[in-house]
Symmetry: C2
Subunit: 199 residues, 2 copies
DNA sequence: ACTCTATCGCGACAGTTGTCGTCTTAGGAG
DNA sequence: CTCCTAAGACGACAACTGTCGCGATAGAGT
């Protein structure tokens, strides 16, 4: 995500590391409400104006944290069945966006307010869903589901209710809820006599 | 939500109407980012301190707008089949939270930041889902689906992906997307040979 | 008509957010 | 080692957010 910037090494990288570390630390301690550029600047030892110049606002900070974190080699699980794979993904969503101090959750909360945060959410989820598509493709290869299904739509249908539940409903979902949402979708596309879903 | 407050009529009600009208107007014009207590106070002719005292923050403002709007006699449609009813609900979600200046959307965006907004989202969606449960109950009565399904879970499974898509994915969903998410769930619980879903 | 009190108007205040221009420094190029 | 430039440091600044105490008033009860 750095591109061919002029001075990738040295001080700049050090400043970025210090700031991002301060963001996650402040986030875990005080949550999204307690996260401010001023606090991050003080904690990281970097000047306020510098943080504003490079990251713009809290949304930019969070987006950069996630961009840095997304630079991993994550790959979806392979349990041999679509249901098991999707349930595993759902549990992972629960683990990552469930906790109040979670970066993903904070970023989603800031998305509507800060354009940079919204772009960060888009990048993160798009990458996530792109990597997860193999789960559905493997199911197609196994003959578990019809080849006409669109992997992305199945993933969103299976995990979307969990995100919605986590972020917008009063009662926090547990592992059983996550599994139930997945099963509701899997039952549809793997139903023996059911008509092949169009999308 | 007024309860047995002491002075429901007269000036207080007038102030509330003026402020809430200013909120929706500012929201439509400048979006959530451009919504501030100061602007609302100026536009409504009500003093800053009064707005802060009664509503606390932007989240309180948005929550009250939605509380006022939820005081209607809305009832879910009855098209004679679960699929048609759910698709209708999905289209309604699309209409109401799709537009950028929508109050529901703004409230959801502010939820993570302001506790009052979060409570407002909870109240609104809970009420909405409670009223919509009849759609599933009618399907059970018709014998369309098994009686063991939990209406709330079906609704969340059918509409959750749409909320998720609307709020967190780059490409805005259209009517076809909304219908597809619904069908994916309906196919599962109405599948002739499929095992009865557990919840 | 009179009283009483919840609510509003008002202005002062402190803290936070975000911008700007200027100066200094780290560190790459020669 | 020296020069040059991108990046950070610094402090001043305006706008917004949220709080407080005090005085004014609408409007309900009698």
């Amino acid at each position: 995500m750095d591109g061919p910037t002029s001075r990738p090494g040295g001080r700049t990288a050090r400043v970025r590391a210090a700031v991002l570390a301060a963001v996650v630390a402040d986030l875990e301690e005080h949550g999204l409400e307690g996260l401010g550029v001023d606090g991050v600047a003080a904690r990281s030892g970097v000047h306020r104006a510098t943080v504003f110049r490079r990251w713009g606002d809290v949304g930019g900070l969070l987006a950069d944290v996630l961009d840095a974190a997304a630079d991993d080699a994550w790959t979806p699980p392979d349990h041999g069945s679509l249901a098991a794979d999707l349930e595993d993904l759902a549990q992972e969503v629960l683990r990552y966006v469930g906790p109040a101090g979670s970066t993903v959750r904070a970023l989603m909360g800031a998305a509507e307010r800060f354009p940079r945060a919204q772009a960060g959410v888009h990048r993160f989820l798009d990458d996530r869903y792109r990597r997860s598509a193999v789960v559905v493709e493997r199911a197609v290869a196994r003959g578990e589901v019809d080849a006409s299904v669109e992997p992305r739509r199945v993933l969103v249908a299976a995990l979307g209710p969990l995100y919605h539940h986590l972020l917008h409903l009063p009662d926090p979902p547990d592992a059983a809820d996550a599994a139930a949402y997945v099963r509701l979708v899997v039952a549809g596309i793997t139903a023996p006599g059911g008509r092949p879903p169009r999308g």
